[in-house]
């Protein structure tokens, strides 16, 4: 065995396999330019170029961004929900859903719909960002 540490040795062995695996997954990152509100980058990544339509991609990401903005909107309704919940010492959430949770369900449905109508026919799948802690939207090439 050579003197290079194990890690580097296996890294070179695994390289080709890893690259093959990665080429099938693309991660759209968060856009932090407006703050910590949940928004995803609209930049059309080069890895997606031959796979999906740019406009379709932008449409999907834009809708997702709008939905998350709706979930995180700070306004009269959210204040009312906050104050009411506070008065009940937050026990009200043992039986009621928060506004955010309701919108998350909408988002899950939208993603399912997009997968069925737009992405699955082209051999791709989007994962719901909540599974990754709202950090990325991953586009997977669904092979086999």
């Amino acid at each position: 065995l050579t003197t290079t540490p194990c890690r580097f040795q296996t890294h070179s062995l695994q390289d080709m396999r890893q690259q093959a695996a990665i080429a099938s997954k693309v991660f759209v990152q968060r856009d932090y330019s407006t703050g910590t509100t949940c928004q995803f980058q609209m930049k059309f990544l080069p890895e997606l170029e031959n796979r999906i339509d740019k406009q379709q991609f932008e449409e999907t990401v834009r809708t997702l961004n709008n939905l998350y903005a709706e979930a995180e909107k700070i306004g009269g309704k959210s204040y009312l929900e906050g104050c009411l919940a506070c008065l009940t010492a937050y026990t009200i959430f043992l039986c009621m859903e928060t506004h955010y949770e309701k919108v998350l369900k909408k988002i899950a449905k939208y993603i399912q719909e997009q997968n069925d109508k737009v992405y699955a026919p082209r051999g791709m799948l989007i994962t719901d960002p909540i599974e990754r802690g709202l950090r990325v939207v991953s586009f997977t090439a669904a092979r086999e």
Partner: protein, 388 residues
Amino acid sequence: MSAIMVSKKVLRKWEKLPGKNTFCCDGRVMMARQKGVFYLTLFLIVGTCALFFAFECPYLAVHLSPAIPVFAIVLFFFVMATLLRTSFSDPGVLPRALPDEATFIEMEIEAANGNVPAGQRPPPRIRNVQINNQIVKLKYCYTCKIFRPPRASHCGICDNCVERFDHHCPWVGNCVGKRNYRYFYLFTLSLSLLTIYIFTFDIVHVVLRSVDSGFVNTLKDTPGTVLEVVVCFFTLWSVVGLTGFHTYLVSLNQTTNEDIKGSWSGKNRVQNPYSHRNIMKNCCEVLCGPMHPSALDRRGELIELALAPVPIPASKNNKENPQTTKTTAPLIPNEHTPDDVKSSIAPETEGDVEEKLSPLENKPLPSEPPTPPPADPAETTAVLEEAF
């Protein structure tokens, strides 16, 4: 020909979560590992209130007003509800990157850093983003293998990255972060009010009684009062001070972590990009903002398949449930299975590999590795070498 036995185990996702949290009630409750101080907090609050209801309330309800114990009960209920909410909920833990995402990020970092000559330390992994015309540095977390979102920090005690990390509070036995900060604030606020309330009425009670029976006799009649006064006195200084400090932080939309590090202290013209520059707006956002959901899905179901004995090598033999994040490979133990599952599978598969080499000597061992790329290449090497 070998027979394949597939044993299916249905687990909840919390059982396989990394990090040093403890879970109760089948994943509904999430806390840190050390809970001793939390039990002390509970004991002090419940104990002092019990003494108050036993000694003060009967006297004051009769001599002053029955509203006094009623209001005390309401306050006590509010304190307990907010405390338990703070302690038991997910503070805003970020799930760790799955291997494919981690590798994607590593590749991006390597591409950004270019070729680093051997022997030189690679530059630190930092991503710059601009928020409200301010450059914010996002640091890479080596444990969670992600670039931390702004305001997130890694808690060493719980071994998790937490969003909008404030601090790890041993008194509540949990981290305080994005999802439970408002409960924590309301807990300190209501506890301050409760402490002041009990302290005040202890004094009133002692004074009223002393007028009738004298000071020393009063203390003999109600020994509980002395204990309450002592506890309340020390609690007052700490909890009221803490409430004041957090009120200051809330008004500026800052976290304890940022305050301690001096992130927005104003030197080098650095200002807090998250603040609305308006106290009311900041308070409203922090206390009445949207209730973020947990990203952890603790109670989701996870199906784990264990294959034993080793099946005849073929690419489609190991069933992969698309929902599972962990799969077991027939020949090589999967590096992502946590230690407890690994220990139950590894002896079987590794042992089988040794045994099966002789009958399978005419068949080549599969050249393809298990499907998810291992996170720990060093371990794979060890196993591969062992097998050969």
